[in-house]
């Protein structure tokens, strides 16, 4: 059993209630982790149902209308309840103050409020599932979303509320990074994960309000028929798409940027080498955040926007490739001649590099006007965004979770099972989604309930892939839970990492540090600082 470390944040008196009223950013991070993992499992089960239904062209389990609801829910749950809050609100909340040597985020009460807002938003979403569900796709496109008989209002209201949770987290992080860095920590001494969270927070704060007002207009459209998205009443449905994607494209970078930040930490730590191109990586995060606001039109190449606009959006979309490429090459250069150790977090980082590169490059295909006309709304795009969102963000999230798990709970998980799970996830993921690139190239449209018989082999391979993927996740859950009960005790710094959060014991005390931490070296000075793994 764990001996009671004095002040260990997990072992404060008060039981469950002390968790529900906690202002400690670490505990709030854990609360978020519990929330998002619940929805990850739920969204994952929906995905399994989708793949199972597509095993044959005919009816497998559910009818076509139910199928429409399932894929809509899968998208809405995974996007709004899992992936957007995933890294910033759980891992970010937990480590950000520790990484910059602060005792907490700037507004602890607001931080707890964000979590409760998240819970309220998710209750609305769950209510809409019970009250007839929703079948519009997660994008809620008009005019269908104003006519569908499913419970669109409660779901969009839920997403509206979740948006506030996201805004408040972003606001909190920006102020924390500006005002609460430890004495002597300049901007260029911050870990790159902090830079990534900063860039993410800027997008959260600037883009999410626009989604909020868009959803308000959608609700007004449904309830009062104000008609501004309805062509029969002089409105314009494409305006909805513009509004929606003005948020939702930057939101894609809300999802990927924190993941990129984690990868910077993992690659430097497990290569035991100073990160290559620190400033280039830091500023490429900000560049991605900036460009993200200028590319939304690439979702409407086939929706009837002007050719000039389409050409400009296409060009701007290609620009995103530059900062993304800068990051990937810097990570590779960091690994070059490093002392690489292949523990579970690093294996996830390597999976990220491989999968994100495929996801990013296929994004360039889709940004090209002529190619997009062929590939728009096919499985190609489904595969593309799963390579970025799942192959990118989820791999980074899992890498980060494994990396900080010993810090969070003071326990080590089984490295053996960890590696097996990575292998299964990697193989299962590629089998599930690479087949979808081929299907999409051949013309399989997204969101369809049925398909011609000649597509069946690839569909079946994809479904088998989803089973392998699920096996990987089940193993992961099993050994992580097992580690909480019977894992070996973790030292303060099991990976030999140089960032500040590893200078405190695992799990850290409530106040994070004993006294105000003093900086003796930069976050990546592996070339000048000798650090023994396992040292406290």
């Amino acid at each position: 059993m764990v001996e009671a470390v004095s002040g260990n944040y997990l072992r404060q008196p008060g039981g469950i209630k002390s968790w529900l009223v906690t202002l400690d950013h670490k505990r709030i991070g854990i609360l978020y982790l519990a929330g998002i993992m619940t929805f990850f499992i739920f969204g994952g089960l929906l995905a399994m149902l989708i793949r199972l239904e597509l095993l044959t062209p005919g009816k497998e389990l559910v009818d076509a209308n139910t199928y429409n609801r399932i894929f809509t829910l899968h998208g809405a749950v995974m996007i709004f309840l899992f992936i957007i809050p995933s890294i910033p609100a759980s891992l970010g909340n937990f480590v950000l103050p520790q990484m910059i040597g602060a005792k907490d985020v700037a507004f602890p009460r607001l931080n707890l409020t964000s979590w409760y807002i998240y819970i309220v938003g998710s209750l609305f979403a769950l209510y809409s599932i019970v009250a007839g569900s929703i079948d519009t796709g997660w994008t809620f496109y008009t005019p269908y979303s104003t006519q569908s008989t499913t419970s669109v209002v409660s779901m969009t209201l839920g997403v509206f509320i979740l948006g506030f949770s996201s805004i408040l987290t972003g606001l909190n992080f920006i102020v924390t990074i500006h005002k609460l860095r430890a004495p002597g920590m300049t901007w260029y001494q911050m870990p790159l994960f902090v830079w990534a969270l900063y860039a993410t927070a800027v997008i959260q704060v600037l883009a999410t309000p626009v989604l909020a007002i868009t959803l308000v207009l959608l609700i007004l459209e449904r309830v009062f028929g104000i008609g501004i998205f309805d062509p029969a009443m002089g409105g314009d449905p494409v305006l909805y798409q513009h509004f929606f994607w003005f948020y939702s494209h930057p939101a894609v970078y809300i999802m990927i940027l924190p993941g990129m930040g984690i990868i910077s930490e993992l690659i430097s730590t497990f290569s035991h080498k100073k990160i290559f191109g620190y400033k280039a990586i830091a500023f490429s995060s900000l560049a991605i955040a900036f460009i993200s606001f200028l590319v939304w039109g690439h979702h409407m190449f086939t929706s009837g926007q002007s050719e000039l606009a389409a050409a400009l959006f296409s060009f701007l979309t290609f620009l995103v490739g530059i900062p993304s490429g800068i990051k990937v090459f810097n990570w590779l250069a960091t690994m070059y001649k490093g002392r690489i150790s292949l523990e579970t977090p690093m294996l996830y980082a390597l999976s990220f590099l491989f999968l994100f590169s495929i996801g990013g490059l296929t994004g360039i295909f889709l940004g090209a006007l002529a190619v997009d006309v062929h590939l728009h709304d096919t499985y190609f795009i489904v595969a593309h965004f799963h390579y970025v969102m799942m192959g990118g963000t989820l791999m980074a999230f899992l890498g980060g979770l494994h990396f900080w798990w010993p810090k969070m709970f003071g326990r080590l998980y089984s490295e053996y099972w960890g590696r097996i799970a990575v292998a299964l996830v990697f193989i299962g993921f590629n089998l599930t989604f690479f087949t979808q690139f081929i299907l999409g190239g051949r013309g399989m449209p997204r969101r369809y309930y049925t398909y011609p018989p000649e597509y069946q082999t690839l569909h079946d391979l994809s479904t088998v892939g989803s089973w392998i993927l699920a096996a990987g996740f089940i193993i992961t859950f099993a050994y992580l839970i097992h580690s909480l009960i019977a894992g070996r005790k973790a030292s303060g710094n099991p990976w030999g990492s140089l960032t500040l959060e590893w200078t405190s014991p695992s799990p850290p005390p409530t106040e994070n540090f004993v006294g105000t931490p003093r900086l003796t070296h930069g976050p990546y000075d592996y070339d000048t600082v000798q650090i023994e793994r396992g040292q406290v």
Partner: protein, 215 residues
């Protein structure tokens, strides 16, 4: 940080000095105001698009808004911003009673604004100048005049909700002031509420000409 003088009760544990806490609150508030501007930004954008598409209809429809009541409300809101600023000034001078008086005056102006808005709204409801499918008025020339009123109600309605939110915040600050929680050394919540209230005012200053003074 060794004595109570440097770590007063209103200084949260994770800040090392009062100035750091105040600066954090200010930065946070300004970022929040930015999100509010973007929230309204969507509506301003919708306004710009539909006015560009239907300039004549917008011109004809706006004539049914009451410029006098709009002007009255503009004066009322600007006055309330002044009294809010004066309340903060009183607090800086440790004049608690003066601050309480000005805060109450601010609340009064806000209430007047809402009452005037109520009369404007009910007049339009009466004429059938309602949003979208409930629109029954026939006196406006041009296609789809309901769009103008839809945008009018969306913008002023959202603004009205912000007035209510601002009033709650002012009421909360007022209660704290009465209970003597603020002094010239610490009045951050009042200052933040003031910033929010000025934003509510500024948004109205944009709404007024865009809706009432077309042409």
């Amino acid at each position: 940080m060794s004595n109570a003088e440097e770590h007063p009760a209103y200084l949260a544990h994770h800040f090392s000095e009062v100035e750091q806490q105040r600066e954090s609150a200010k930065l946070g508030m300004w970022i929040f105001l930015l999100t509010e501007i973007l929230l309204f930004g969507g509506l301003f954008c919708a306004y710009a698009i539909y006015r560009a598409w239907h300039p004549d209809m917008f011109y004809n429809a706006h004539a049914f808004l009451n410029v006098y009541l709009g002007t009255l409300n503009t004066v009322v809101l600007i006055s309330s911003s002044l009294t809010m600023a004066l309340a903060i000034r009183r607090m800086q001078l440790d004049d608690r009673r003066g601050a309480v008086a000005f805060l109450m005056l601010t609340l009064l102006f806000a209430a007047v604004f809402l009452v005037v808005k109520y009369f404007e709204y009910s007049h339009k409801f009466h004429l059938g100048q309602l949003p979208g499918k409930y629109y029954t008025f026939t006196g406006v020339k041009g296609a789809n005049p309901h769009i103008f009123f839809g945008i009018y109600f969306a913008m002023t309605g959202l603004h009205g909700i912000h007035v209510l939110a601002g009033m709650s915040a002012i009421g909360w600050v007022l209660a704290k002031t009465v209970r003597g929680r603020f002094s010239s050394a610490y009045y951050t919540p009042m200052e933040m509420t003031g910033l929010y209230w000025h934003l509510v005012d500024v948004i109205w200053i944009f709404l007024f000409p865009l809706l009432y003074l077309i042409g």
